[in-house]
Amino acid sequence: MSAQLAQYLLSGLTIGAIYALVALGFAIIYNASHVINFAQGEFVMIGGMATVSLANAGLPVLAAIPVAVLAAAAVGLALEKFAVEPARGASVVTLIIITIGASILLRGLATLVWDKNLHALKPFSGDRPIELAGATILPQSLWVLGVTFAIVLALGWFFGRTLTGKAMLATSHNPLAAQLCGVNVRFVLLLSFGLSAALGAVAGILIAPITLTSWDVGVMLGLKGFAAAILGGLGSGAGAVVGGLALGIAESLGAGYLSSAYKDAIAFVIILAVLFFMPSGLFGKKSAERV
């Protein structure tokens, strides 16, 4: 394996892990509510921006991070409580517009609370590159990969082993049946928005030292996360992770070998190509219409 290829793969994995976290957020909310939350990228922005501003205010980064994640989760809960919950039963398109409204609102608030400038967050453990198989990797990339890996494991345990996690899965398959079994569906909905927001915020914090952060950083990351979730197959957790990593690697290879100007387009070309042949994504359920 050439050093160049290794380099592209490493940076692709890093950004892919971020896409995977955002895609997981999409999947969790979609499962609980069948809503595509177009404000998902805004949680990423809030995570990064809040950490930066708290750190600038003198808080140690280790203390700033949990505060920022909790803040994003609170915003997620508020979004569900005040915008999605009151509109239950509305059409899918109406719900999409509501979350778009929320994303505009949140971006607007970000420019008020913070500003319209780019901000840098200091890397967690220095910025001296580490040599690996002829390629170099930033310590921050290791943080991204490690934390993402830990989160995926934790989510696997949560949905597979805990009662709350199973209740959430049950709700995604059949809300009415879940409710009849004693699952508090409204709580599940609320929890899913809180959890997704927290995941998005973690992604935003992890990537901030590598790519900088600003009030509008959530737009592209949100779209790529959505693309990753669709690529894997909406609602599939494993699909979201695989979709995110695949998208990140493809983008990095495409930018390296084909055209860096078209880096952002590559993700969307791939998603179109996949959907043409697999209309439910890589791991999506093919649903036979019952008539």
Partner: protein, 313 residues
């Protein structure tokens, strides 16, 4: 002619508004706003046929709008084509593109369709920004005036009447289409796809047809914008403009042609009015959007009609 039917009555009302609005347009700035409303309304009337009536979402129509604008711009400015020929070629090209990509895309449903159309729009906008030798890149490019029989069409007042006339024609065409066998087939698809299919409706063909028509509406509006403004930037091609267009359709009320016009007018005017709020503009705009969709989930016009009908009873 019965003016009490929504068709003729609504058309007459729209014509009257277009005719008498100039009395309220005190200066060129307001003419510009009115033209912008008209152009957005043309796109939304077409987009509403796709989203509201046929039930197929598109988050990429700004792409078709942008192709229309840049097609006309590039052919006239860079290759010296006569504007009318450029307009015809661009429109035909966009129709062909919609036909080709629509075939695989429209097999998708729901969020997958949303993703595919979104992706298409994003790709078009990235191409426009990147191919800067043709398009001027992020800085945009200037476009020659539209000339017809040696006469240059210029000035806000003239373009007001052109856009007004095209909008009226677009609404008339949309209303005709809805009340025709083809339009019924589209609404049937929205109501029950399998019910429509066993009635003999070729779902793929019907969706493709309306996808192409709505793309042509957007492309024409784009070409008009390019020639009227004399300058275009990629801003109108991107994801945000696509979202803006869908929002207008949903805000005004899906499956309501006049709702689409009202949605376009409201959401074009709102930011103009909100500029007085300066830095609070985005926050208020987002809040208004959320509140409208929460309290009037069917959109403005259908909710209004619903309330009026309830009062009558």
């Amino acid at each position: 002619m019965n003016l009490r039917t929504p068709r003729t009555g609504g058309l007459a009302l729209l014509a009257a508004v277009i005719l008498f609005l100039p009395l309220a347009l005190v200066n060129n700035y307001w003419y510009e706003v009115a033209i912008l409303v008209g152009i957005n309304a043309i796109v939304c009337v077409g987009l509403n046929l796709l989203i509201g009536y046929a039930g197929q979402i598109s988050l990429g129509h700004a792409g078709f709008f942008g192709l229309g604008a840049y097609g006309s711009a590039v052919l006239t400015a860079r290759y010296g084509w006569p504007p009318a020929a450029a307009l015809a070629a661009t429109t035909a090209g966009v129709a062909l593109l919609a036909l080709l990509v629509g075939r695989p895309i429209l097999k998708l449903k729901g969020h997958y369709l949303a993703m595919a159309t979104l992706g298409l729009g994003v790709i078009i906008s990235i191409v426009v920004v990147t191919e800067d030798r043709l398009t001027g890149g992020p800085d945009g490019m200037s476009v020659p005036a539209f000339t017809l029989f040696g006469l240059a069409l210029a000035g806000e007042r003239l373009w007001y009447w052109i856009v007004g006339g095209v909008l009226l024609a677009a609404v008339w065409i949309a209303l005709n289409l809805i009340e025709s066998p083809a339009g019924r087939a589209l609404r049937a698809l929205h109501g029950s796809e399998v019910g429509a299919q066993v009635s003999g409706i070729d779902a793929t063909r019907a969706k493709l047809g309306i996808f192409v028509i709505s793309a042509v509406f957007a492309s024409l509006a784009g070409s008009m914008t390019a020639h009227y403004a004399g300058f275009i930037t990629p801003g109108k091609v991107g994801f945000f403009h696509s979202i803006e267009l869908v929002t207008m359709v949903v805000f005004g009320g899906m499956a309501s042609t006049f709702g689409a016009v009202i949605g376009a007018a409201t959401l074009t005017l709102l930011p103009q009015l909100l500029t007085v709020l300066k830095e609070y503009e985005m926050v208020v705009f987002g809040a208004v959007l959320i509140a409208t969709m929460v309290f009037l989930p069917r959109g403005f016009l259908p909710s209004l009609v619903f309330i009026l009908k309830k009062k009558q009873k």
